[in-house]
Symmetry: C2
Subunit: 346 residues, 2 copies
């Protein structure tokens, strides 16, 4: 590998001090224009590149933020990441991406000793395996913004939609279509599955409001919010003596897995079983039939997360935690209302 050109060699060629070269390269104002031009000619002639690592070391920061998600191949996260990378780049920040696979030890490590082990100034984090206590124990000197459904308690910000309200809305949509045997796919046990539990709460609240009984045996827990788990849960539901006439899925991927099984069994969506998802990923808009869903404002979540983490990085004292709500809306497509009604709605 080519030996790197040093600051001193540039200084020698330009006939100035190393400090002057440093001032020019770092864009400081205390250099005359002829000197600046002479230094820049030497920089170009030698192919000198300022050592960013050294500069960041002197400033005590890396110019990077880390974004930590459970799974990169989940479209919801890749759509969100795209927005975060764009927002960060506009602020001159690079984004380091890490995938935890939802492993609690890996997640705990990232918010406790993460700042020294990795090379970032702040973290935008979507935890999966951690409970409230582990989050509260995070390194308070680490600028931290949490994505998802947790209640903020501590020196970090939290951004998410109102999951209970959104799930209630999705469920009420199914009930208002006259469906009465509603299944829910994606419940998860306490303490780690908080997102899932909030969605189950919304599902139950909608039943209460409409005076309809919740069929407990139709609320199915799954390890993940993915297609495979959606397909497995749907198979189980269809094998019951009295299967559901509608399904609220805790992600669009779960809904796509469920619809795959319905199609394979020759059942019609929504005539035999209505299906609604959650997340509004692009796949759901193009599936056959297109999936009704809850659409979180991902653009706002991404830009707010970047703004908040940069604010925390810039602050000399830890800021109090803030709870930030992004808006969501119900998107009605064919998987709940059929072709004619969906095109009238669209």
């Amino acid at each position: 590998m080519r030996r790197d050109v040093t600051l001193r060699e540039v200084a020698q060629l330009a006939g100035v001090s190393s400090r002057t070269v440093s001032n020019v390269v770092n864009g400081y104002a205390n250099v005359t224009e002829p000197t600046r031009a002479r230094v820049m000619r030497a920089v170009e002639q030698l192919g000198y590149r300022p050592n960013v690592l050294a500069r960041n070391l002197a400033q005590g920061r890396s110019g990077q933020i880390a974004v930590v998600v459970p799974y990169l191949d989940t479209p919801y996260f890749s759509e969100l990441l795209q927005g975060i990378i764009r927002a960060a780049r506009m602020q001159g920040y690079n984004v380091l991406i890490d995938q935890t696979d939802g492993d609690p030890d890996h997640e705990r490590m990232l918010i406790s000793h993460g700042r020294s082990r990795l090379l970032f100034d702040g973290v935008i984090f979507s935890p999966l395996g951690l409970d409230q206590q582990a989050l509260a124990d995070h390194d308070p000197s680490l600028p931290l913004v949490i994505l998802g459904e947790r209640v903020s308690q501590g020196t970090f910000d939290h951004i998410g939609i109102d999951d209970v309200a959104a799930s209630r809305q999705a469920t009420e949509h199914l009930l208002d279509l006259g469906r009465r045997r509603l299944a829910a796919i994606g419940d998860q046990p306490y303490p780690t599955g908080e997102a899932a539990q909030l969605r189950t709460r919304g599902f139950c609240e909608a039943h209460e409001r409409r005076g309809v009984t919740v069929h407990e045996e139709l609320v199915i827990a799954t390890p993940r919010f993915n297609r495979v788990d959606g397909a497995g849960a749907m198979r189980h539901l269809l094998d019951l003596p009295d299967p559901p006439d509608a399904v609220f899925c805790y992600s669009d991927l779960v809904a796509l897995g469920a619809m795959h099984v319905l199609a394979a069994r020759g059942l019609r969506v929504p005539e035999d079983v209505a299906v609604i998802g959650y997340d509004d990923i692009e796949d759901g808009a193009y599936s056959n039939p297109p999936v009704s869903t809850i659409s979180p404002d991902k653009e706002m979540i991404a830009t707010t997360a970047v703004e908040r983490v940069l604010l925390r990085i810039a602050s000399r004292t830890p800021l109090p935690g803030r709870e930030l709500r992004a808006p969501h809306r119900l998107v009605v497509r064919e998987s709940t209302v059929g072709r004619g009604a969906a095109s009238r709605a669209g």
Copy 2:
């Protein structure tokens, strides 16, 4: 933000020299066990964290590789990225991810001055906007591995499947089913759309081998390989006086977009129009109907890319460029052969 504890403070508390603390923290062997224990107690008591940035600076490397892709929300890339992150982490490397949006200027910048601007030791790069010349002009001191369909010429490695052979195979599959009016969606103009051009070549070669005429008016160029472009091209094809009876799509996303339009027009897949995609993303396996496709060995592409870039980072002299082929296979599903035949094939 909390003031960081220094090496010197640890040394004072432990009653040893700063150099001894440094030796302990860096795991060097020349320290007695009692001294090591005393230093570690002081490290824990003060909450000292070794400065990774400083250590990497001393070693002249960052412990990071960059992975640069055109679009993060393309499932093919997020599936590949997941494999790359896992392989890199097993080698103690972090992954920095950048998204170019296919912008040639951004891509050129990354492989010319990238090493200094960002903080990485090597790059795994999937270019979209760059032509051969721009790639050949890359900074030769930057360890570089290219993903995709380009021919290697220079001091970088290239990993991809045999696109011409794979596309020929997909097309022959359609011809062998008796289809005769084949469309192709995804062609792109020279010089940047090389992946697309190789696929068009395979499409034409299959026609030649089977003695079937290529219908030039059915070969449709699209700006991207995504659902929106697939849908737009399919609408155009269906509006022709003599529409196709089969479509070879240059990505599964294009196929999903095309199938969305076919369903909306009330046409049956494969009875009216057979559809085959490319990439074998999970969406295609779960769509209705599931999509036949070309499946590249993504696991092998990911692990080979990481191995090659780490080898280049470790080497003290630039290594000659290598051309590496990953295997692929044709996956036959309902979108070309219908339900009965697909389940017999599976």
